[in-house]
Symmetry: none
Subunit: 217 residues, 4 copies
């Protein structure tokens, strides 16, 4: 049915179909036939472009991720202040997953728990993106905006965990409907903490008034 086409186009078409199908049915439950049907090609055609079902899965990130990271780096340049940059990062990821729900599902529900994927070239790109969190944290610590007593890897993990938890939840239960709405409260929580900050109006100061000797000291 499907006539000749440029190779990259065809690959993209199959990858898009795979993303959709895997997102909907999961990797093991989805069949190559499902993907082929969705892509409008034959089963065999898929194997002309991808050596195996697993390779097909692992190729889904690829471009998307690499380009996302580039864009992100670009955008961060115009934001001043570590706190603002952190908000920018959180926004980037939540907005991205909001706009690519199938990719979100594949990423959160399939790839993230795949041991083999972790050794993949594609995963390296993912990690590169995560490196930006570290740089922003460092910057904040340096400038005195952020606390210096926290391990930066732990901080990053906590932030990513919070983001991923929401994205996963959305992939599984369609809630929350809008991830971007979470950017501010999440940033707020992570930057400001759960504890109520001490209200200066409620502070008690001990003010000591000392007579100043008018003569020499």
């Amino acid at each position: 049915m499907a006539g000749p086409k440029k190779i990259e186009e065809r690959k993209a078409q199959i990858l898009a179909a795979a993303e959709t199908v895997f997102a909907r049915k999961g990797f093991s439950e989805a069949t190559i036939s499902d993907v082929a049907r969705q892509a409008g090609v034959s089963d065999a055609t898929i194997y002309e472009y991808f050596a195996s079902k697993e390779e097909l899965l692992f190729t889904i990130p690829g471009e998307t991720t690499r380009m996302g990271t580039e864009l992100l780096e670009f955008n961060l340049r115009y934001i001043r202040g570590a706190g603002n940059k952190m908000r920018g990062l959180i926004y980037h990821y939540l907005a991205f997953y909001q706009e690519h729900p199938d990719y979100a599902a594949v990423s959160m529900l399939i790839l993230k728990q795949n041991r083999k994927f972790l050794e993949t070239e594609a995963y390296r790109h993912v990690r590169e993106g995560y490196g930006l969190f570290l740089r922003v944290i460092e910057e904040g610590v340096q400038s005195g905006e952020f606390r210096a007593d926290l391990d930066k890897y732990l901080v990053r993990a906590a932030i990513l965990g919070a983001i991923e938890h929401q994205v996963t939840r959305r992939a599984l239960m369609d809630k929350p409907a809008n991830l971007v709405d979470l950017v501010d409260p999440l940033t707020d929580l992570l930057l400001g903490g759960l504890k109520r900050p001490v209200n200066p109006a409620a502070m008690n100061f001990k003010i000591t008034v000392e007579p100043i000797s008018s003569s020499d000291d």
Copy 2:
């Protein structure tokens, strides 16, 4: 080979085997034969106790979770202060997953991304445990210890996300070796936030001295 045994004992034996095998190979990759071998029973015997491979998977939480939650509720009673209770919760989960790495793997890598599991009785117990986070948050807000401007569900999600991120990482890459070490820094971060608190020593106060009229008031 395996002689008659009390029904619950045999079930537990099979579940333990399933936990181990699923943790190691993943659900789809593991076979009933693998589980049977690990349990020291025949394939057919497994079907005497569980209707399907999926039911076997979904039964793994069961007791564990229910008992964990009970213990948790009990322990919390002896902790005063919402912040301390939160630390207690975080400790509970990290310690639990640290001690049950196979369960951690099954939970993080398999169950958590399974849509069908979310409709399960077993999952209700998991959620009940998570309810405690809400109660502690509420308590903290009530007592004024916690900020009142944050959605409690979001807060809980962030905390769980941070915890799960670490547990997942450990399940996949054996790092960090000791989850319990993370209790304090993680609690610190989540309660105190990433931003450096304003240092009172560096605060500027405008002190106004007014003469007090000694006559009328």
Copy 3:
């Protein structure tokens, strides 16, 4: 359909079916379904007993060959004279292939040209049988019955080649109908050679008649 059965019985049943099917269609052209149908079991059952189609093929010799060799060794003991023993060997093989035409086809048309089979345990047994040719040749040379100027391996190869050629021909074209009829002419040819022996009746002798001195010695 097929009920439980003793394991060796079932294996033999499948092997017999495989022999028939492979003989008829060749290895690549025959399918596991063909064999299963012939054996009256399901495709999957075959894989309960044999790990792969190739293993099924390589297991076809096995017993047959081992027992054949034993019988052969036994029989040879009662034959005197290397020439007679050689005739016995040739008879053994031709009769055996005559009686097991399917095995003959599998052996000549499939196994004999399979490089992997040569590294098989089963092939070792085949070779053991061939070792008897060497022993008989040696015996003949020792006793002076056979020529000593020929390499025994070459002789064996020639004899086996002649036998196999006939067996192959029969497997392919059903000719000759009776291999056993070839025993005598083949033995004759191989032992006596193609060249016409010098006919004593046609020999020329120079007869010298010398007068015998009647006196001394």
Copy 4:
């Protein structure tokens, strides 16, 4: 890549590639893509010249065989004596296979066991070559050089069998390294037989001396 070419040249190029590939991997295991790659053309091009993979296989003998037979007939003319001619034949085949090991492999390991090939035009040429054996045997019988009591077809089969056995062995195990070395011992064996010829020096003759009547007879 491959530009236009004379049709026969292109065919020969593909056939040579097929010979190499089939020799190395076997017919079923080799793919058209393998052959195409080896030939430096595309898969589709092969189908411009050959209707199917099988036809490609069956066309491999073709020229080679026909020319071989012609050469053989020519050479035999200059040899005198059936025994010498037989040696010449054996030499011809062994030398030919020695020089064309890929063709030897295809011929011995693939074509020889293919029922369909036997009905092929190409096979007729092969058989024609074999016809020379018959003629030489007949000549030898006629001239009294060879025994008359052996079926000529059987004799031919034995000789071919011996040759093919060696060629097959070489194709499979690279032994013997030099087939031509076998010409003399093999001819010797086939012509002279395995049995030790009676040594005239050891013969016993009964010599009868009769008085000759000097008168009439």
